[in-house]
């Protein structure tokens, strides 16, 4: 077969990368990985294969991050909150109302602050960031009674992921955070073990929350940013052209998938409305003000000011 114009020459050896995620195969991320795998395969003449392992087949995210650090040929979908275990400062990106949209987060990634974090991950923790521009949309509260202001969330048990950035933020916004697996949410709501959840539209639609919850309260409190990371020890065994290729392709696909997600988000919302859910517009200023408490509590207030200054916000 003819080599494509952007063919990348390696060292003649074959390499394989597994991509692990908790997300289901049908998620746009996985579709993105398949597209990426195809391009990488073409551009290396089959010398570099990328295999996708959806639905946590290789273990929980924490387990697979550990596998990557230990040297397994695996890339993991992760978020800034988890990376905060390694470089504490990164947690700020996962806080409520840190950024208003995807473009703003992309600006943050150009700052010296962020570049320093990425460097610390690699040098002190053996974690190499391939790209941190994967975006799954804004998260909203989904409940059975309308939420317009933080007080409406008082005593409402909301499922949220466990990392402190998430649960403290959700608590600051007025709700009672409950940690449990995402897959347990459907039955937990149905059985009234919890009163609702907070999630991005793609996940909400995927879980068919419209069958059990009534209101989409458009708080957009988190902008769900994800990164793809690999272990430094495996990454360093690759010939340099392949290293560059992976970074390039994950960056590129991250952008493509983010655009798709943003577009699809509205589609998911209208489909959920069609299934009987109601959209509630909230008092954003009140929620943003409530979120301040979490920044104070986790010691991120000063840092946020510095980052905002650098990107020219407020």
């Amino acid at each position: 077969a003819e080599k494509p114009a952007d063919f990348v020459e390696g060292d003649g050896k074959s390499y394989e990368l597994m991509v692990s995620t908790q997300l289901a195969d049908s998620n746009p991320y996985c579709q993105g990985f398949y597209a990426l795998a195809k391009r990488v395969d073409e551009r290396t003449g089959g010398k570099m294969t990328v295999k996708v392992f959806p639905s946590a087949q290789l273990g929980s995210d924490e387990d697979v991050i550990e596998q990557a650090i230990q040297g397994v040929n695996v890339a993991v979908v992760t978020d800034a909150g988890r990376m905060a275990n390694y470089v504490k400062d990164m947690g700020i990106v996962g806080m409520a109302y840190f950024a208003d949209n995807y473009d703003e987060i992309m600006k943050v990634q150009q700052t010296a602050f962020w570049k320093e974090c990425v460097k610390k991950l690699a040098e002190e923790n053996g974690i190499r960031v391939l790209s941190f521009n994967w975006f799954d949309g804004a998260r909203h509260f989904l409940t059975n009674k309308p939420v317009r202001k933080p007080e409406d969330l008082n005593g409402v048990r909301i499922r949220t992921p466990g990392a402190p950035a998430w649960s403290r933020s959700v608590a600051a916004l007025g709700a009672t955070p409950v940690t449990m697996g995402w897959n347990d949410v459907y039955t937990a709501v149905q059985q009234k073990a919890i009163d609702g959840c907070e999630a991005q539209h793609s996940a909400s639609y995927g879980l068919r929350v419209y069958e059990i919850l009534k209101y989409i309260n458009k708080t957009a409190h988190f902008q769900l940013l994800n990164g793809l990371i690999v272990g430094e020890s495996w990454f360093s065994t690759l010939p340099e052209p392949y290293r560059d290729l992976l970074v390039e392709e994950f960056e590129k696909q991250g952008k493509i998938t983010a655009a798709e997600v943003i577009e699809k988000s509205d589609v998911f919302e209208s489909m959920m409305v069609k299934e009987g859910m109601e959209v509630v517009e909230v008092d954003l200023a009140a929620f943003k003000k409530a979120a301040e408490a979490a920044y104070e509590e986790l010691g991120f207030a000063e840092q946020r000011k510095a980052i905002y200054k650098e990107i020219g916000k407020e």
Partner: protein, 426 residues
């Protein structure tokens, strides 16, 4: 792949403890794969204990041992005798009813089979039952126990396959009662032919039944409390075991007052070892499971199976045949751990409900504890009854056939399984 399965089978059949056979096979695969560092085997073993759904297993084992210490068991035996003591082969009928009643408080077929051989066995022999028949009846009717909720098998299937354990529990109710009816029929036929007599002269009066039921009310309402608690969000299935344990302590310590501090401690220590033995298998299977995923075994088998036929009944029969074979040779827990991730993608592609399939799969697999050549309960029941496993297996043939008939019914009439979960959970 061949290394993995090869090492496992060699170690298994040459008598290596099952837990280590499975762990070392997975470890061998990791050793032979350059990209997997050895430390990952440690991680995978430890990770097996870090699942909130699997927490239900130690808790239900604990609850089961506590229930035995409360005196619930002996009361249920009495109730069973009142209910079916007048029928032909009454002791065998008692075994069927007792397994059904025990089903509501115990989640393990093995434990039930052993317990019933100990309690009913001596009397069966005294009344002239053949020892093999006694072992077969007590062993195979114990399948009812693990079909009626709670059930250890459903917990494993549900947590490995990420299927609602609540739905699985409720899904087992009708098949459990159907199994009871079919087993009673088989006992009736076999016992009459052998001339096994009733122990009670006449049918129980309504009064007798009522007073026996009254004495057992705490055991009888328990499964109802369990399902209601899950349904109305008091607890999740993973937490239900803790409630079961709490309930047993309450009934044994406060209501019946039969559980002393000493019997409580005995139950705790007994549970600790039971859990350890089972968790060693579950834990060490972590290396094996990782090897299977890394080697993409589920996808390969799924593609193969779907390539063979796309007729759902044919494919179901093929899978059931594989399950029977697997259950004959490999321990039930191990089968469930290894095969659930293999078959769920296949049946999902065919549009078969995973709860429906789960009940069929676990019924088929669990029967393996009573089949030669490898069957934990086959050996233990035969040992207690004092006969050879061959005798037991021969006497068990009508009961195997009964179970297969039930599995066949469930395949063709999914509503047997799905009617109640749909009703309860919507």
């Amino acid at each position: 792949m061949f290394l993995l399965v090869g090492v496992f089978l060699v170690l298994l059949f040459l008598g290596m403890p099952v837990a280590f056979a499975i762990g070392i096979a997975g470890f061998a695969f990791m050793l032979a794969t350059p990209n997997i560092p050895i430390s990952i085997s440690v991680q995978r073993i430890v990770a097996q204990t870090q699942s909130f759904t699997l927490l239900a297993i130690p808790l239900f084992i604990f609850a089961g041992n506590l229930m035995n210490a409360t005196g619930i068991t002996s009361r249920l035996v009495k109730l069973s005798r009142v209910l079916v003591g007048h029928m032909a082969g009454s002791l065998a009928q008692v075994s069927v009813i007792l397994s059904t009643l025990m089903g509501g408080v115990s989640g393990s077929a093995n434990a039930d089979a052993v317990m019933e051989c100990r309690i009913l066995g001596p009397e069966m022999i005294k009344q002239g039952y053949s020892r093999g028949y006694g072992a077969a009846v007590n062993g195979l009717t114990a399948m009812i126990t693990c079909t009626i909720p709670p059930s250890m098998g459903f917990i494993i299937y549900g947590s490995v396959g990420e299927i609602s354990i609540g739905r699985l529990f409720v899904g087992g109710v009708l098949p459990g009662f159907l199994m009871m009816g079919m087993m009673m029929f088989t006992v009736n036929r076999t016992a009459k032919r052998r001339g096994y007599i009733p122990t009670n002269a006449k049918k129980p009066s309504a009064r007798e039944i009522f007073s026996a039921l009254k004495e057992n009310v705490f055991a009888l309402v328990f499964p109802v409390i369990l399902i209601a608690g899950i349904r109305f969000g008091l607890f999740t299935p993973s937490e239900a075991g803790a409630f079961a344990a709490g309930y047993a302590i309450f009934v044994g310590g406060v209501i019946y007052r039969e559980m002393s501090w000493k019997t409580f401690l005995e139950a705790v220590e007994q549970s600790a070892v039971d859990i350890g033995v089972l968790m060693l298998i579950l834990g060490l299977s972590g290396t094996f499971g990782y090897a299977i995923v890394y080697g993409r075994v589920p996808q390969t088998i799924a593609e193969f199976l779907i390539g063979v036929t796309s007729n759902r009944y044919l494919l179901m029969s093929l899978i059931i045949l594989l399950l029977i074979l697997a259950g004959m040779f490999v321990e039930t827990t191990v089968c469930a751990l290894l095969l659930t991730p293999v078959f769920i993608p296949v049946i999902s592609k065919l549009g078969i409900d995973p709860v429906h399939f789960g009940v069929i799969m676990m019924t088929t697999l669990t029967a393996g504890i009573m089949t030669p050549p490898v069957g934990v309960a086959l050996y233990s029941t035969s040992e207690i009854m004092g006969c050879t496993p061959q005798e037991t297996a021969r006497e068990a043939i009508p009961f195997y056939l009964t179970l297969m008939a039930l599995v066949g019914l469930m395949v063709f009439f999914p509503q047997i399984v799905l009617f109640l979960p749909d009703l309860v959970f919507g």
